[in-house]
């Protein structure tokens, strides 16, 4: 029974990890390219969930809702960076100041959603599907779809970053924006594209999150933000590959903890892992001795 629960916990952890990976890779990508710790990220996820919900309620399928959420958030994130965050940066707002700005944007988004949709809960119309047993693990078909979506997206992100000109330009912009600009890289456009891509990931994460939680409201994404930031830090801030790995670690650790120690300690153990890893590797699993940079203007 105990062995069975352990295997099942790992399966459940993989589902959590899949959602977390989509969210944390987008989050860390934004930080990597712009050096902006975007604390409005969770609220943008919620807004995307509502965008997908609108499509779902209009009779759209779940893939169409995912596309709507991703498209909405991609555009919203890019515009948010271009017309809000970047203006603050150009007016001299520094790293900590930008954190406050993103926090303010998050509160504004959350309250707009509250005003528009009210203080109640929403659910997508969809069937979670039948149970599927894989190597002793139990999934629903919708959860298998979430895992598959996450794997495909992670592979695409990895390919984008390592094998395309855009990916190299993004990495160059992340490493040293001034040098990248001097080398002929249009850093503003690269940053826009990075926010489009990370925004799309944020939107996907928002929709799959609420598909999995079954109910959501205007604060749902924000509730998830802390664990997203934890995954990004554990993986090494600005390191998408690290965020993927960290998501798996956190997802599995939380579920195994729930099964064998106490559900109350789920997050405690996850953050304990974070603290221990950062104690020995202060820059995270994949961090490369990076230091805190100011926001590039």
């Amino acid at each position: 029974m105990t062995g069975s629960l352990f295997v099942q916990s790992i399966g459940f952890g993989l589902v959590t990890a899949s959602i977390l990976a989509l969210a944390s890779v987008g989050f860390t990508l934004q930080f990597g390219v712009s050096n902006i710790l975007n604390l409005a990220y969770g609220d943008l996820m919620t807004a995307s969930a509502f965008a997908g919900y609108a499509v779902n309620q209009a009779g759209g399928s779940i893939p169409e809702s995912l596309a709507a959420g991703a498209g909405f958030c991609a555009l919203a994130s890019m515009l948010l960076n271009r017309y809000v965050y970047r203006r603050f940066v150009r007016h001299g707002t520094k790293l900590f100041g930008m954190v406050v700005v993103t926090l303010a944007v998050g509160i504004i988004i959350q309250n707009i959603l509250l005003g528009a949709y009210g203080a109640t809960f929403f659910s997508y119309s969809f069937s979670a599907g039948s149970q599927v047993h894989v190597l002793g693990m139990v999934f629903t078909t919708s959860q298998l779809m979430i895992v598959a979506l996450s794997v495909v997206v992670m592979i695409l992100v990895q390919l984008l970053l390592t094998w395309t000109k855009l990916g190299k330009a993004m990495r160059a912009t992340a490493a040293n924006p001034s040098l990248a600009q001097a080398s002929g890289i249009a850093t503003d456009q690269v940053t826009d594209l990075a926010w489009l891509i990370s925004g799309a990931l944020c939107g996907l994460a928002g929709v799959v999150l609420v598909l999995n939680t079954s109910a959501f409201q205007s604060t749902t994404g924000n509730d998830f933000l802390v664990i997203i930031v934890a995954a990004a830090m554990l993986g090494g801030v600005g390191r998408p590959t690290g965020a993927m790995l960290a998501s798996i670690v956190l997802g599995v650790v939380t579920e195994v903890t729930a099964g064998f120690i106490n559900p109350s300690f789920k997050e405690v153990i996850a953050f304990g892992v974070l603290v221990v890893v950062l104690l020995f590797r202060p820059t995270g699993i994949f961090g490369q001795g990076a230091t805190v940079k100011e926001v590039p203007t």
Binding site: M1, L5, Q8, S9, F12, V15, T16, I19, L20, L39, L103, I107, N111, L114, G118, A119, T120, F121, F122, S123, A128, Q131, V138, T140, L209, N212, T213, S214, A215, F216, Q217, T219, T220, D223, F224, T254, E255, V256, A258, G259, N262, P263, S264, K266, E267
Partner: protein
């Protein structure tokens, strides 16, 4: 039971700064009660509850009691020389970091304030002392047991505390013949309020608790917890968590084939919880497996008809659909609280809380020869004729103990939140203690 999550707030620094500023403002305006103690200006009742955040449904629920009471008082000519009564909302956001400055601001800037509906469990510990210090009568919808024996002179509670609901759930489960149970509660302070008593009560009645789970709120999945639950084979589940957490937990229980009977606290009888969980597990399953405990308020009789006619008259002004509040015992308790406070002012011939405060208990207590009244207009008319009155409201007779708490009966409702399937008096519930 009246709140679900005290979320840690990363917005605390800003809130603290605001708190300092508002505290200074409050100090500057302390004692500015002239507007309420003389003249004919409007008097204000504040609904101090969450209107945003995870427990944002609490505020509208209280407001749905305030608005009809204020409208009926205005229609009856107002209180003393004050012809207009206003319901003002003050958003506590369900978080002490936000609630403290909100309370300070309310006290400092509302000189016509004569009573408060709230606070809820989310912010009661932090804000009850503030209202008490300002000599402001408050009717808490908090369920925290710490207020069972509270020494705050201006704190009143006419809904039962959290620990009482736990015993009521145990009695119901025992009566239904469930031999074993699991307790699945959110790990926040208010969800935990009834955990201890439901476990103790069920054991005392001979039941077996096979699992106690305290689950963190608003996670993406609880499937591991559900596997543990299935392994324990409970015949019923006692539960409370916020709507999203419960929806996720119970939807996954259904997906894994382990959904069975569950008994919720009164936190689960609210429309947002029923909607969230109903959508997640399906309305048919919710109807089949769920009952929820709530403070008993009769939905028949003269007083109920009075309440119903008054809330229907202002139906467009409350959170929609208005019908969700018709049988809501917390909205009815809020209506009673306003009526009782307003009549206390009439009886004391003063709008000064330090003068009319003792009348709140006096008017609820039976006395020889007292005329029983059921709303403000009846009470005002009787007082004008020089009669002694006893207020018996929509929630029934209010029996304040020495700590100004009024423990009452409980009813159990089905998935529509209003159809009663069982009712237990305070005496029946006491067998589980």
């Amino acid at each position: 039971m009246r709140s679900h999550a005290i979320h840690s707030s990363s917005r605390a620094p800003a809130a603290c700064l605001l708190a300092v500023l508002l505290t200074l403002a409050a100090c500057g305006s302390h004692g500015s009660s002239s507007a309420r103690t003389s003249g004919t200006g409007a008097l204000t009742f504040a609904v101090f509850n969450p209107f945003s955040g995870p427990d944002a449904s609490f505020g509208p629920e209280q407001l749905a009691g305030c608005i009809p009471a204020a409208a009926a008082i205005n229609a009856a000519g107002g209180i003393l020389t004050h012809q207009k009564i206003i319901c003002k909302t003050a958003d506590s956001r369900g978080d002490p970091a936000d609630a403290v400055p909100a309370a300070e601001q309310l006290i400092a800037t509302t000189s016509s304030l004569v009573g408060v509906l709230g606070p809820s469990s989310d912010e009661a510990s932090a804000t009850v002392p503030l209202f008490n210090r300002a000599n402001m009568p408050m009717f808490g919808d908090t369920g925290q047991a710490v207020f069972n024996h509270s020494s705050f002179k201006y704190f009143y509670r006419i809904t039962p505390p959290d620990d009482a609901v736990g015993y009521a759930m145990a009695v119901y489960a025992h009566q239904k013949g469930y031999p074993s149970a699991a307790a699945v509660f959110g790990n926040d302070i208010s969800s935990q309020g009834s955990l201890r008593t439901v476990v103790a009560g069920f054991k005392k009645l001979g039941g077996k608790i096979v699992l106690v789970q305290s689950i963190p709120l608003d996670l993406t999945s609880y499937r591991t917890e559900i596997s543990a639950l299935a392994a324990a084979h409970p015949s019923v589940i006692f539960t409370e968590a916020d709507p999203q957490t419960s929806a996720t937990y119970l939807a996954e229980a259904k997906q894994l084939g382990h959904l069975g009977p569950f008994i919720g606290t009164d936190g689960t009888t609210q429309p947002p919880w029923l909607k969230a969980v109903g959508n997640a597990v399906g309305v048919v399953n919710l109807k089949r497996y769920y009952v929820g405990a709530q403070p008993y308020a009769p939905t028949t009789g003269v007083t109920y008809q009075l309440w119903l006619s008054q809330i229907k008259a202002v139906g467009a002004q409350v959170s929609q659909p208005a019908s969700q509040w018709y049988g809501d015992s917390y909205s009815m308790a809020a209506w009673d609280s306003i009526n009782l406070t307003a009549l206390a002012m009439e009886a004391a011939k003063s709008t000064d809380p330090s003068v009319f405060r003792p009348w709140i208990v006096k008017l609820a207590t039976p006395s020889p020869g007292a005329v029983v009244v059921h709303d403000f207009a009846q009470g005002k008319a009787a007082l004008t004729q020089g009669k002694t009155i006893q207020y018996v409201g929509a929630t029934g007779q209010i029996s304040f103990d020495q700590w100004q708490n009024s423990p009452g009966a409980f009813s159990f409702v089905s998935s529509d939140g209003s159809t009663k399937v069982a009712t237990f008096t305070a005496a029946q519930i006491s067998v589980a203690k």
